[in-house]
């Protein structure tokens, strides 16, 4: 039952300090009562947790005493994307603390924070395969900055801008990019994105698809102890959009990129840089860079996250303040909204409203009953 919201992240040390601070020490409690006392985390797991989660963490027990099917902790692709903080929260608060089954009880009144931390470490050990990136580097997705952690997600990213230039009269441009992302193996991911546009074109509105984008990404560096990750990728856009209406670039464009993330205190810091290399040499190259800084307002998977991005393209620069919210208890459905405000060439550029609706389709949306 212990499936954790995926996109809210705290450092392991933050998780350790948050829960169980006032809990009595079990050894002290038990010594006054008598009876056998499990003393190590492994013994506690066997005595208590294995009833539902099994000794090996698979959740497969002979005589289940609960109605939900526990999560298989040996399945690395499901468990590794979760940050330690979510595991600790589930142990401390029980299933509802991370939007999951209330059949998982809370242990915050009976375990110390060190013991909860020990359980998190013990549970991490159920995944026996090496080189899975740690979920501690699985940060909330910014709106524009590419996320370094590989994901299984479906995204809708709307963009709405209203022209302020006198020559454009009153023009509202609407874009919507649909993106499908899927992990490959332990560290890689591919994605496919299709943009749709509805623009003012000459005297009427025009709707069309834009340039189809496909990309691969690989997490080349992911620390297992600290929340740091660096990924490289290559994106290619295909000229499926109509060039003369402004819906596409009219050429294949290769876009190598790098994405990285870390935490500074409680702040997420994510950066992303890429170069657009058109096959048609008449089309200009572009250099893009994005930096995001943000933080959660609570430890719950469906918390509000506040952030701001700097988005640069060649000599242009935008600042994009944004707010993100998990829409379900697990955080598997989330939405973000921001405003992309031009910092340079303000007379020629307009504010765009940007955001996303995100669905982590392998994660449960809520507790199963």
């Amino acid at each position: 039952m212990l499936v954790l919201g995926q996109t809210v992240n705290q450092s392991a040390s933050a998780a350790e300090s948050r829960y169980g601070a006032t809990a009595p020490k079990l050894a002290e409690q038990q010594s006054s009562v008598g009876g056998p006392t499990p003393t190590t985390v492994a013994e506690m797991w066997s005595a208590w947790c294995a009833r539902c989660h099994a000794d090996d963490g698979s959740g497969k027990v002979k005589e289940p005493t609960i109605t939900v099917e526990p999560m298989d902790f040996t399945e690395c692709k499901v468990t590794t994307p979760e940050p330690d903080a979510d595991w600790a929260r589930a142990i401390a608060k029980g299933g509802p603390g991370v939007g999951l089954s209330p059949e998982m009880p809370g242990f915050e009144d009976s375990l110390t924070r060190e013991q909860i931390s020990g359980f998190v470490k013990h549970m991490r050990g159920f995944c026996k395969e090496a080189r899975w990136p740690s979920g501690n580097a699985n940060f909330p997705r910014p709106i524009i900055t590419e996320k370094a952690f590989p994901e299984n997600e479906f995204l809708l990213l709307p963009v709405v801008s209203h022209a302020t230039e006198p020559s454009s009269a009153s023009a509202t441009d609407v874009g919507l990019v649909a993106v499908y992302e899927r992990r490959i193996g332990r560290r890689a991911m591919y994605e496919v994105g299709i943009p749709f546009y509805n623009w003012d074109f000459q005297t009427s509105r025009a709707s069309a698809i834009g340039d189809l984008a496909v990309a691969i990404k690989y997490a080349a560096y992911a620390s297992t102890t600290t929340p740091r990750i660096v990924s490289f990728g290559l994106e290619a856009t295909l000229p499926t959009g109509e060039l003369y209406k402004g819906f596409g670039k009219g050429t294949v464009v290769f876009e190598p990129f790098i994405a990285a993330g870390t935490m500074v205190g409680d702040w997420y810091v994510q950066a992303h840089g890429k170069v657009e290399l058109p096959v048609d040499t008449l089309v200009d190259r572009a250099y893009l860079y994005n930096v995001y800084v943000g933080r959660d307002t609570s430890a719950a998977p469906n918390t509000w996250t506040l952030g701001v991005e700097l988005n640069g393209e060649n000599r242009e620069l935008w600042v994009t303040p944004q707010i993100r919210k998990g829409l379900t208890g697990t955080g598997a459905l989330a939405a973000s909204l921001g405003a992309s405000i031009p910092v340079k060439y303000r007379g020629e550029r307009v504010v765009s409203w940007v955001g996303y609706l995100l669905w982590e389709f392998l994660e449960p949306l809520r507790a199963r009953r």
Partner: protein
């Protein structure tokens, strides 16, 4: 100052005398809850037998040989707060902070009364993992806390959204109930009897609750200085 003090003493004595007089004029409501239902077969235990035993009585319906029903709740509406009443000993009366004890893989007591917004203590005498999973009757979870060792006591609020059903996620047969009411209320004992004393004369509604059986409310009239006795069958 001395006169004021004397007046205060006199006033206190007068109030106490009036209160005593009022209680002296009060009546009481007593009775027996019966049923034609039979006690249930014991639950066969296959988990933690060293602590729980090989089988446990199913306390969902506890009836004696005369058909008298235990663990039924009798609520006298319209008398608040019930602290002003003397709830008869021998029956489990409402406590300010009810304690739920996990004892030999059963909640003890099985049924108890709690005030709205009370803090409830849960503890365990068993050296095995129990959970106290408190849910409203609509299934909403109030809390679910782990009690992995004997002797640990955890306090949680229950709010005021209705009766609370208790279960244990490691021992599925375990059930308990907190009947949440601000009215005078008692739980019947093993002999099916109940008694609510020091009830001011008047007309009241008496309501009955049981986890598996039902009975319609009754209007009763309490007279000064004598008990109002009744027998109620729950089906």
């Amino acid at each position: 100052m001395g006169r004021l003090f004397a007046l205060g003493i006199l006033g206190t004595i007068a109030c106490a005398a009036l209160a005593s007089a009022a209680f002296a004029q009060a009546g009481s409501v007593t009775g027996t809850i019966t049923t034609t239902a039979k006690s249930l077969a014991p639950v066969r235990v296959t988990i933690d037998q060293k602590v729980c035993g090989a089988e446990l009585a199913d306390q969902a319906v506890v009836v004696d040989a005369q058909g008298r029903l235990a663990n039924a709740v009798v609520v006298l509406t319209g008398v608040k707060p019930f602290d002003s009443l003397t709830l008869a000993q021998g029956k489990r009366a409402a406590a300010a902070e009810p304690t739920i004890t996990n004892d030999k893989c059963a909640f003890a007591p099985r049924v108890q009364i709690a005030r709205p917004n009370a803090n409830v203590k849960t503890t365990s005498k068993d050296p095995i993992l129990h959970t106290t999973n408190a849910q409203l009757e609509n299934g909403r979870t109030l809390f679910n806390v782990a009690l992995p060792i004997a002797g640990l006591t955890i306090t949680k609020p229950i709010g005021n959204a209705g009766n609370v059903r208790l279960s244990c996620n490691t021992h599925p047969w375990m059930r308990g109930w907190l009947v949440v009411t601000a009215d005078a209320a008692v739980v019947t004992g093993a002999d099916g009897r109940f008694s609510i004393d020091n009830v001011p004369p008047g007309t009241y509604e008496l309501r009955f609750w049981h986890e598996a059986l039902k009975s319609a409310p009754q209007r009763i009239t309490v007279a000064a200085g004598k008990p109002t006795d009744l027998t109620v069958q729950m089906k």
